[in-house]
Amino acid sequence: MTQSTTGKGRRTFLHELVLGAMALASAGPVALLASRSRAEDASAKKPNGKEYAFVVDVSKCIGCGYCVEACAIENNIPKESVRTWVERYISTSDGVHVEAIDRPGKMLEPPPAGLMAKARWAAFVPKLCNHCENAPCVQVCPVGATFTASGGFVLVDPKHCIGCGYCIQACPYGVRFFNKETRVADKCTWCYHRVAKGLEPACVTVCPTQARQFGDRNDLSGPVGKIYQSDNWQTLKPEMHSHSRVLYLGLPREVV
C-alpha cells in the first residue's frame, strides 16, 4: 500500500516536473513573442478603423518649399535638421543632377542654362518618413522606444529613447535624425498631434497644389483611398521591402 502510494506520488511528481519544465521552456519564447509583437499589436488595434496613407503627386509639386517651412514651425525642428524636404531632379544625357530644399525658407537657384539645355526631364520630389508597415527602425530599436501606433503612425517615444542612433542607421530613406536639443531620435510623425484632433498634417495643409494628400487608405470615397485602391502608385526603394505607406504618383525611375 505504502509502495503503491509512493509510486503514485513519484509518478505525480514526475508528471508535474515534466509539465513544469515545459512551462518554463515555453515561458522564454512566449515572453519573446510578447515583447516582439508589442509594436505590431499597436498597429493591429485600429480604434477608429482608419489605416492612414500619405500620397505624394510628383507631377503637382512646384517646389515652393512651404511644406518644409510649415513642418519646421509646427514641430519646432532644430535648424540643422528637417523632417521633410523637397528634391529637385534634373535628368540629362550625362547624368542626374539633384538639389534639395532642405531648410525652411531655402529657395533653389535656377539651374544653369547649360544643364537645362541637356535636360530630358525635371521634377520636384517631396520626401518624408514613409511610416513603413515593416519598419526597419521599429525592428532595430533596442528599447522599444520606436513603435507603430494605431492607424499606421511610426512614432518615437522621446521619454524612453536612449539616443543610440541605431534607428537612424537602419532607416533606408535617411528621414531620421538625432535631435541635438532633445538628444533623442527624431522624425516626421505625419503630425500625429494634429491628426489626433481631426486636422491634417501641417505640410498637407499648406501645399498650394495638393501635391501632398493624407487620409484613410481604406476609405474608398476619399482621394487617398481611391489612389490606394487604384494600385497605380510607387514607393521609394521597394527593394528594401519595408512596405512604405507613402504612395508616390508619377515617381521617376531615377528617384531614390
Partner: protein, 395 residues
Amino acid sequence: MLPQGALNNYYFPNNLHVDWSLMIVLYPYITGLVAGAFVVSALYHVFKVKEFETFARFALVASFCFGLFAAVPLLFHLGQPFRAFNIFFTPHTTSAMSIFGYVYSSYMVLVMLELWLVYRKFFIEKANSTRGLQQLIWKVLTLGVTQTSPGALRWDHGLISLFAGIGIPWAFVLHGYVGFIFGSVKANAWWASPLMPLIFLMSAIVSGIAMLMLMYSFIRWRSGKPYDLAAMRRLMDYLWGLFILDVAFESLEVVYMFYEHGHHWAVVGPLLTGKLLGTYAIGQMAIFSGVPLLLLGYVVLFDVPDRRFIKIANFAAFCIVIQVLLMRFNVVIGGQMISKSDRGYVDFHFEWLAREGIIPALMILAAPFVTYWIVSRFLPIFKDDAISSSAAGSQ
C-alpha cells in the same frame, strides 16, 4: 567618381553628420580585445596549449581590464546615457542590439568568476597574512570561501576549465554579435554582409593576441625579466594563421562585392577608391595587412634569432592592432559616409575635445592599461612576480 550617374554630390539633408563617431569605433575595438585576450587564456585552460601557461592568467586579467571599459564608449555616445539601463529593463527583442546588455554583462560575470577561482587561494593567503583594512578587503575578495584542501583546489581547477570552455563560445557570441549589429543593416551597402560577424570575430581575436604580445613584451622589458620565448613563438604561430584567415575574410567581402557588380559595389567601389583610399586601401589592406603578414610569415617559417624575433614580432603585432583599429574606423565611419541618397558621400571631421573627440577616445583607450597596471600591483600575474606567493593561484 559618384555613384548612380550623379552629376553632383547629393546627400540627404539628415545624412550630413556622421552620427556614430569615434566612440562607436572604439566600442568594437575594446570588445574585440576582450574576446581576443580571453581566447588566449582559454587555449591553455581548455585546449591544453602548454606553452600558454605563461599567458593564461595574464590574458585573463587583461581581458577583464578591457572588459571593464568595453561599454564606456557606448555611454559616452548615447544621447541619454542615464537611460542606458532601459536596454536591460525593456529589451525590444526584435532588435539585434537589445540583448547586448545581457550578453556583455553575462560575459563579464563569467570572466570575473574565472578570475576569482584563479586567485581564490591567493586571496585567502593575503587575508590570513594582513591586518586591518587590508585584511578586510582581502577577506571580502574571498567571498567567505576559505577552503584550500586539495579536494577544493581540484574543484577550482575543474570549474576554471568549465568556465573557460563556456567562455570560448560566449566570447565568440560577444564579438560575432557586434559584427551582426552592423552586418544586419540592409540600408547600408558597406555594412550589409553576412561576412561581417565573421570579420569582426576574426579581427577581435587577432587584435587581442597582438595586444597581449605587445603588453607582455613591454612588461618583461620594463621589469628586466626574461621572456618566455617558446610561448611567444607559439603565440605568433597562432597570430599568423588567424590573421591570414582574418585578411582572407576581409578581402573576400570586397572581392565578392566587386565581382557581383551590383548595387553594393556601385556605392562601395567609389568609397573605397575615394574617401577611404588612405585608411582602407592603403592603410588597412596594403600596409597594415601586407607588412605583418610578411613579417609574421618570416618569423614563423624561419629560424629567426631571439632578439630579432622579439623586434620583428612586436612590430608585426603593432601593425595588427593598428590594422584592426583602421578596420573598425573604415566600417563604422566609412559606412556612414555613404548617404542613403546613394548619390553622394559625406565627410567625417575629427574633433579633439568633444564628447566623441580624440582626447576622450584616447583616455578611454588608455583606461584598461592603467587598470591593468593597478591590478598588477596587487595580484601576481606572472610566476616570477615579486608579489607572487608560493601558492599564487591555481592557474
